[in-house]
């Protein structure tokens, strides 16, 4: 994926059609990032410049960021999102791979039933579960708590299925050798099998983190106190308050977007490979 494969000889000669295609493709690509770029640039503008069409701010300023971060709410929401996305990701990496490993590498009666049962939950949309989850959270006192935001996502069928696919490629001999050496089953999974599937683990981690970082519906339902909002929910309430100060809304939106963009710029190659792995195998 990372590098283009060499083109067959018949395409090697550059033809005018290819130049046109390249140009159109490049223009399309620029248009795709324009909203993100425009948002970032506007967050650096002073109010009087915001409604001019110029893209680059004439007097770039961090004023908007100081203003938005001043009352501490954004920092709070940012930390909430980071904490929730991180914990849920770790939990998925642990449980999804444990279950995937058991389903791939253990033989026992009922294995197929368990696999089908877990797989069948892929057919159930989150939206169908939010009402029962809400009732459950109310009963257990989880409404308006961090745990309440996290609990529906601590394991996913998608991740389990992805990990099962990858553990099936791990040769049994490796595991049996460790078993003869007298290692425990948990240690075999954790120290021998897990390191062999790191590409899949990173793909899983990327997907789960991104999904939780951007999650909106359930956090919106389960939280009521602004202290516990995640960044997308907080941003919505903030933007509704600001309504007319678009440069402040753009600053808030930038704060929600910059972390994932930075991660992407650093790990671009792994992220694209991970998305392909997860998309095609999952």
């Amino acid at each position: 994926m990372a590098t283009a494969r060499p083109l067959p000889a018949y395409l090697a000669g550059i033809r005018p059609g290819r130049i046109v295609a390249w140009t159109l493709l490049a223009i399309g690509g620029v248009l795709m990032v324009t909203p993100v770029f425009y948002m970032l640039m506007t967050s650096l503008k002073l109010p009087h410049e915001v409604y001019q069409l110029t893209l680059i701010p004439r007097e770039p300023t961090l004023e908007n960021y100081f203003y938005v971060l001043k009352d501490g709410r954004f920092m709070r929401w940012f930390m909430n999102s980071l904490l929730i996305a991180t914990i849920v990701t770790l939990s998925n990496v642990f449980f999804d791979s444990l279950v995937g490993y058991v389903l791939a590498k253990f033989t026992f009666r009922g294995r197929y039933v368990v696999f089908l049962a877990i797989l069948s939950t892929l057919m159930i949309p989150t939206e169908m579960l939010v009402i029962p989850w809400y009732m459950m959270s109310a009963a257990f006192g989880w409404l308006d708590t961090t745990w309440g935001i996290m609990f529906p996502g601590v394991m996913t069928a998608f991740g389990t299925f992805l990990m099962k696919q990858f553990f099936e490629t791990v040769p049994d001999d490796f595991l049996d050798a460790a078993r003869i050496d007298g290692q425990g089953e948990f240690a075999i999974w954790w120290t021998i099998a897990m390191p062999l599937v790191t590409p899949a683990l990173s793909a899983l981690a990327i997907f789960v983190f991104l999904g939780n970082w951007t999650a909106f519906l359930w956090p919106l339902i389960v939280t009521t106190s602004p202290n516990l909002y995640t960044l997308p929910v907080g941003l919505t309430t903030f933007s509704v308050e600001q309504q007319i100060d678009w440069e402040l809304i753009m600053t808030g939106a930038s704060l929600a977007t910059i972390p994932t963009l930075l991660i992407f710029l650093i790990f671009q190659r792994y992220i694209i490979r991970g998305v392909v792995l997860a998309g095609l195998k999952g």
Partner: protein, 297 residues
């Protein structure tokens, strides 16, 4: 312990398997299966959040069938699905097909297309909302005005608001589809192309006779994946219409937003549960269709 010590290695492994599965199985039963059944069950009740559940049989479904707002919402959801899916599939295929043949700045252009997929839909909805504002605020209308073209009403219009919101959803998901299509294109052995080339076949015929048929599994996967996405659209609509969620006049309201309002604004949990059952049935139909199509291959 002695019981365990007396087991064979195989039997010990079975014990371990169930030990490892215990917590996850409890989770799937309590957080996935039980809530699913409960949704069906609650949908047969009249239940405001505070107060008693009252068994009403299929009344909620009868009410749905006769509720004009529900049918409006159902139609909207269908438009998101039936316009969004083919449009995004065709666009992303064209981009992927062309990008696959480009070497100059290949990685950079690919990154440009993929980047929106990593943004937060709720945050970007506000950026788009700003773009769509009328003169003198909105970027698009300001640009049109500077060219002397009449303004377009986007989010305040009952006919333009839905396409305007759908465009942002297509924009957001396009990069993922491009990446998956490109992976699919890479998986086609070059020898097929070379053989066709030797036979003197045109690019267009290669595309029609080789590339597209071989891409069938990828296309089915993406059609189902994005159909489900458009069917569940919520973040963009909610954030772009906060003054009147799903407005103007319910013209942009999708099913999930209706569910959200019925359950958590009007607190009619029974009625909302019936709406989620409808969503479930539609999703199930799409998933079964996918299995069917995959089998025919």
């Amino acid at each position: 312990m002695s019981w365990y010590a007396n087991r064979t290695i195989e039997q010990k492994r079975v014990v371990w398997a169930w030990t490892f599965l215990a917590v996850p199985l409890a989770f799937y039963v309590l957080v996935r299966f039980y809530p699913t059944l409960e949704s069906f069950y609650v949908s047969l009740h009249s239940w405001r959040l505070i107060g008693e559940r009252r068994w009403v049989g299929l009344d909620n479904y009868v009410r749905l069938a006769t509720d004009p707002v529900f049918w409006k919402v159902f139609a909207n959801t269908f438009i998101y699905l039936i316009v969004g899916t083919p449009l995004s599939i065709v666009l992303s295929f064209v981009v992927a097909y062309q990008l696959d043949r480009v070497r100059f700045m290949h990685g950079f252009i690919r990154a440009l297309y993929f980047l929106p997929f990593l943004t937060t839909a709720a945050a970007m909805a506000w950026v788009w909302r700003w773009f769509y504002q009328p003169v003198p605020i909105g970027v698009i209308n300001n640009a049109l005005a500077s060219l002397g073209i009449p303004q377009i009403t986007f989010l305040a219009s009952t006919t333009n608001a839905l396409p305007a919101i759908l465009a942002t959803a297509i924009w957001h998901g396009l990069g993922f589809q491009v990446i998956i299509f490109m992976a699919g294109l890479r998986a086609i052995p070059t020898s097929y192309y070379e053989a066709a080339r030797i036979d003197g076949v045109t690019d267009w015929t290669i595309l029609r006779e080789i590339t597209i048929p071989l891409m069938r599994p990828t296309v089915i996967f993406l059609v189902v994946f994005s159909s489900i996405g458009y069917l569940r659209i919520f973040d963009q609509v909610y954030n772009m219409t906060t003054n009147d969620p799903g407005g103007p006049l319910d013209s942009t309201k999708p099913l999930v937003l209706l569910i959200y309002q019925t359950a958590f604004r009007s607190y009619e949990l029974g009625y909302a549960a019936a709406q989620t059952v409808v969503l479930f049935v539609v999703l199930l139909a799409i998933s079964l269709l996918q299995l069917r199509l995959m089998k025919d291959r």
